[in-house]
Symmetry: C2
Subunit: 369 residues, 2 copies
DNA sequence: CCACCGACAGATAAGGTTTACTATGGGCCG
DNA sequence: CGGCCCATAGTAAACCTTATCTGTCGGTGG
């Protein structure tokens, strides 16, 4: 592997001169010398050693993005947005998928710190775990002190996100849309209680109902996970409960997709028997049957602005938080409420078969419930 | 930012001794000294500088994964598999999304080379572009010469992939399944002609038909892109043609999803009027209406084995190519062929409306065609 | 009792790059 | 015609870590 020393020797100049040419410094070098150096570099297939450069600059042009799960379309979109910005600015993007494991997240942050990454962008929301957050807080403070940028794109333990989406307003708008369709009894699959972003969305649900003058029935608020399986379980929990509902509003699309699948299994038709709404508008949402009413988040743009924020921080420019608007997307899964709300008084409707029935679910009529 | 020099000074030892302790070398250090050093490191919140280490080792514990598009679920799965292996082995994963831009891919490879990445894994297939591949070939040869591992998970210009999936056999199996259902006239949406993986799949299509004793009707082989939009266009092209077909086999799931959407728009029912099959089994495939018959690829495992291959290469162990089997997944989009094959003699069925009609597509009966 | 060995610690070079500082001319102003 | 500045080139230090080599000291075998 050719080093700059060899390039310099071949060109018959000092390493300093060679460095000035290949690193495009503004130090004056005569045209003839420059050409000789470039020729030598080409000859030797010289590629500068980013490690040596980084060692000197105390920083390497890399930004790390920490996501919960790279196979989740939400995060994939955000990462892509970060890449848009970062690549244009000459940075390389390192995607770190924590698999929702705090230990792994911590070790990624440590690794990024050890390689002097210029910035760390947290795409996902933090968990409310005091001990964990204390240690993470120390790490992040140290990174900032060392000149790196730290950006949060979702609510987290250390406070408000730097760039984010108005989660609460988005859910409130969806609740308002459901109310406009005639719903008064709207259930909410709230996601994990410890996840800050889920809290923000629950807050939006409460606000939406409050603005419509509807009291919150706590029995209709179901704590769940954040994936499809959790959506199915949430439906089961609602059907097993006593509180009536005509619509299910979900804290994210994956929950809604799970709810749709479970409702179909139970022979309930959407939106005739119950309306279902999601949040995020991941690309699948338009392709299900029925297609999913949801709230579109500008995820790619979120990633772009997240990087832009980091870039400004690195340049020492003044920073301001940003909150991006969401957009309501009404598709087929929402409609007018049924004459008679769920759940009907059939407790076994809520027991979940452990294996999927081999016969396709028969379409039950409402009267059958 | 504390360096090992400061740790050593605080502990009252030389940098050499401090290094031996913090880098877990097997050089003997007395227990008392070791404890003093560890205490000092804790005190100063010392994090070793990966750049300095890499400069010395001529390699940094990072593997780069080059994908076409990180938002494509296919690649997201593969990346996750690579991460599984890499994280366990102490490597950090850099995901590089080339956005199918050759220039960007080249610049990523250059960047990875410049930071002395231990390995580069190409998740996607190469394009048949001789000039481009010549230059890429030089880069990769240089990287290998410098001790880095280069792994291909799909067919590419430089020959067979190192670890891959049996694309041809998978498609052939799907063709056989369609034949078993009674289909004889099976169309194929083949993807981009220049993409090596698309060629392998086309080859599988030909083989499948040959094994069933069916001659290939070249009019039924449609060159397309590799995304949903291309699937819709492929359906249009088939309907505009003269050759009869009762099934559409697609080179990937995104094409099949596009085909399903377009067929629904045209009022054709799947599988009653025509069967549709995909390839990859991305997670959406199970959630569409009708759900998609497809071929499951062990994508996450592909990523894992891809890393394992790189790891062996770095350890200097002997290497052997691996070809992983696929699995047929028959869902709702395939069935017995209709009595009368498509296309019916209505040429305007193939003209695509530029905007989606505002009224939902009415369900036309077969007799209406 | 001496030579040697093992356990441990320190000094130093090397890895590749950039940059502040130094050096050498030639041209220009006085 | 001499001093000075500018353009250009070279020298060497610094970034941080680790491996190699050297040194010391207590102990052990002959």
């Amino acid at each position: 592997m050719a080093s700059i020393t060899e390039v310099a020797r071949l060109a018959g100049v000092s390493t300093a001169t060679a460095s000035r040419v290949v690193s495009a410094s503004d130090y004056p070098v005569s045209a003839a010398t420059r050409e000789r150096v470039l020729e030598a570099a080409r000859e030797l297939d010289y590629v500068p050693n980013a490690l040596a450069r980084g060692l000197l600059n105390r920083r390497i042009p890399v930004v790390g993005v920490i996501v919960h799960d790279i196979t989740d379309p939400y995060f994939a979109e955000v990462v892509r947005g970060v890449e848009d910005g970062a690549t244009a600015a000459g940075y390389l993007v390192i995607t770190c998928s924590s698999e929702r494991d705090a230990e792994r997240e911590r070790s990624y942050v440590r690794l990024l710190r050890s390689m002097r990454a210029a910035a760390v962008i947290f795409a996902g929301s933090g968990l409310d775990d005091p001990q964990l957050n204390a240690e993470m807080g120390r790490h992040l403070a140290a990174m900032r002190a060392e000149g790196a940028a730290v950006v949060h794109l979702s609510p987290h333990a250390m406070g408000e996100p730097d760039v984010s989406v108005d989660n609460a307003a988005g859910i409130a708008a969806m609740v308002a849309a459901l109310v406009a369709l005639g719903h008064r009894r709207i259930a909410f699959l709230a996601g994990p209680a410890a996840l800050f972003v889920a809290r923000a969305r629950l807050e939006g649900y409460r606000r939406g109902l409050a603005e419509a003058g509807i009291a919150v029935d706590e029995r209709l608020v179901v704590r769940t996970g954040f994936d499809r399986e959790a959506g199915a379980l949430g439906v089961d929990a609602l059907l097993a409960g006593e509180a009536a509902f005509t619509a299910i509003c979900c804290a994210n699309d994956l929950l809604a997709l799970g709810a749709l699948a479970r409702l179909a299994e139970l022979g309930l038709e959407v939106p005739r028997d119950v309306s279902v709404a999601g949040f995020d508008d991941i690309s699948v949402a338009a392709m299900t049957a029925p297609s999913l009413s949801t709230v579109r988040l500008p995820l790619r743009e979120l990633g772009r602005r997240g990087f832009a924020h980091a870039d400004r921080a690195l340049a020492g420019e003044p920073l301001a938080g940003e909150l991006m608007a969401t957009r309501l997307v009404l598709r087929e899964s929402t409609g007018a409420p049924p004459a008679e709300p769920l759940p009907a008084s059939r407790p076994q409707a809520a027991t979940r078969p452990t294996t999927r029935p081999t016969t396709p679910p028969t379409s039950r009529t409402r009267g059958a419930r």
